[in-house]
Amino acid sequence: MTSLVLLEFDAAGIKQPSRSAVAAAQKLGEVHALVAGSGLDAAAQAAAKLPGVTKVLVADSPALDHLLAEPTAALLLALAPAYSHLLAATTAVGKNIMPRVAAMLDVQPISDIADVVDADTFVRPIYAGNGLATVKSADAKKVITVRAASFDPVAADGGNAPIEPAAIPDLPSVSKFVSAELSKSERPELTAARVVISGGRGMQAGENFKLLEPIADKLGAAVGASRAAVDAGFVPNDYQVGQTGKIVAPELYVAVGISGAIQHLAGMKDSKVIVAINKDEEAPIFQVADYGLVADLFTALPELAAELERS
């Protein structure tokens, strides 16, 4: 029984959510990894170093740049016969591609797994994480996305897998990449950060997110937001932590001016330590916070920045 994991990568190597997907696949047996796009030498080398990967397939074609769903799904469909399980991380890329592959294979995908019970049985959150469903698939082949926050990623090196070119089928050209506007930030990515500090509607305006920055700088934290803050237009949607945004599980999560709606808790309640700063002492966020500070964030944040600066 061998699994194939579609990897995402950037200049820094294989992305952490993909390394978590490899960790999930290891629970199922042998693991092969796939990198797709063009100019893949560095990515293939990085994939070969992932512990537990026994083969790296390289699909080198400019049509696979940016991992558009239509050609990438066609590639996975062509590779599928050799594999029992096809996996990717639950990211914008994985969510876009994997259900498409599943339908082509006449398989019901298993989205966002949080645990592997056996080769057919998986645990996945439903209703914003208010329930954990154990589901058993009757499909011969499984198509899976992996909740990165639920699996410790494999290390970035330690392995030495052989690299082989993948046979590339005819790829559809019904879609085209035009451009990407990625948020430029020196900070870690939300889903990979050890510390996350998020602001909510209580921040009152986008410019007030600046108050989080000195604290994020000091703690090496990523900056996130609640859906309410995104809806209010304070920050872009890629900041969103929650059921309909990103799922994070950092060592430390600091929720500032966030009331703690179900949809937000769904995205952060697996964090190791949660801090809440809110002026409403009845806010539901305090029910999940390890440390709660009832305070006006506009005085507490500068104080916190100063306190961290001092020591």
Partner: protein, 249 residues
């Protein structure tokens, strides 16, 4: 251009759903049901395209129990022209829904199908992508902006690090993200008007689809509970606790 908008009846987003005592599923009896929030965004986008003269007819489709007609009625009140209810008491999973929707699309020949990016009950985020695959159409998922010129649609997509712009040939699938639009509230006159709009009711068998689920839910359990922690009196105390007790900074 005809637009198809599938709408799902789900537990209202304000309801905190609990696991049933016997672990067989979630307790959904007697709770308030509403249209899936992302599907409201889908209906709104379709209505706006008609207001701009791009779309000519909007068909709202729902699949499931008889009460899904209410969800269709909500879409009709927002501006959809007619409805199709695929009525069944059986559990429908995204693969079956995608197959049923494909059969409807084959018959109705829409040029665009707009779906929510995920339903807030099963959180699968799969149906739109699967329908695109079955129709062999391109897909613009997690859309925050769409522009249609002739047979080409430009889609701005919400991706992990920001935004990505792609173009897709029509016919195509769109799945909606939060910032695509803000759905309107149906006005009273439009709610009254919606009562007269037609809803056709059919069965899965009429579409030649076997909707049998592929996933069996063995059990549903409560997520691990977090204990409420302590309140601290000052920022200094907070920093001290994080440093010396939790040891995370």
């Amino acid at each position: 251009m005809k637009i198809l908008v599938p709408v799902k009846r789900v537990v209202d987003y304000n309801v905190k759903v609990r696991v049933k005592a016997d672990g067989s599923g979630m307790e959904t009896a007697g709770v308030k049901m509403s249209m899936n929030p992302f599907d409201e965004i889908a209906v709104e986008e379709a209505v706006r395209l008609r207001e701009k003269g791009v779309a000519t007819e909007i068909i709202a489709v729902s699949l499931g129990v008889a009460q899904c007609a209410e969800t269709i009625r909500t879409a009709l009140a927002m501006g959809a022209d007619r409805g199709i209810l695929v009525e069944t008491d059986a559990e429908l999973q995204p693969l079956a829904v995608a197959k049923l929707l494909k059969a409807i699309a084959d018959k109705e020949q829409p040029k665009l199908i707009i779906l929510g990016k995920q339903a807030i009950d099963d959180d699968m985020s799969a149906t739109g992508q699967m329908l695109a695959a079955l129709l062999d159409w391109p897909q613009g998922t997690f859309a925050s902006k769409i522009t249609i010129e002739g047979d080409l649609m430009t889609v701005v997509r919400e991706v992990d690090g920001g935004l990505e712009t792609v173009t897709v040939n029509l016919p195509a699938i769109i799945t909606t993200d939060l910032r695509l639009n803000e759905p309107r509230y149906a006005s009273l006159p439009n709610i009254m008007k919606a009562r007269k709009k037609p809803i056709e009711t059919i069965k899965p068998a009429d579409l030649g689809v076997d909707p049998a689920p592929r996933l069996t839910t063995l059990r549903v359990s409560d997520p691990p509970k977090r204990k409420a922690g302590v309140k601290v009196g000052s920022v200094a105390e907070l920093v001290s606790k994080l440093r010396n007790e939790a040891k995370v900074i």
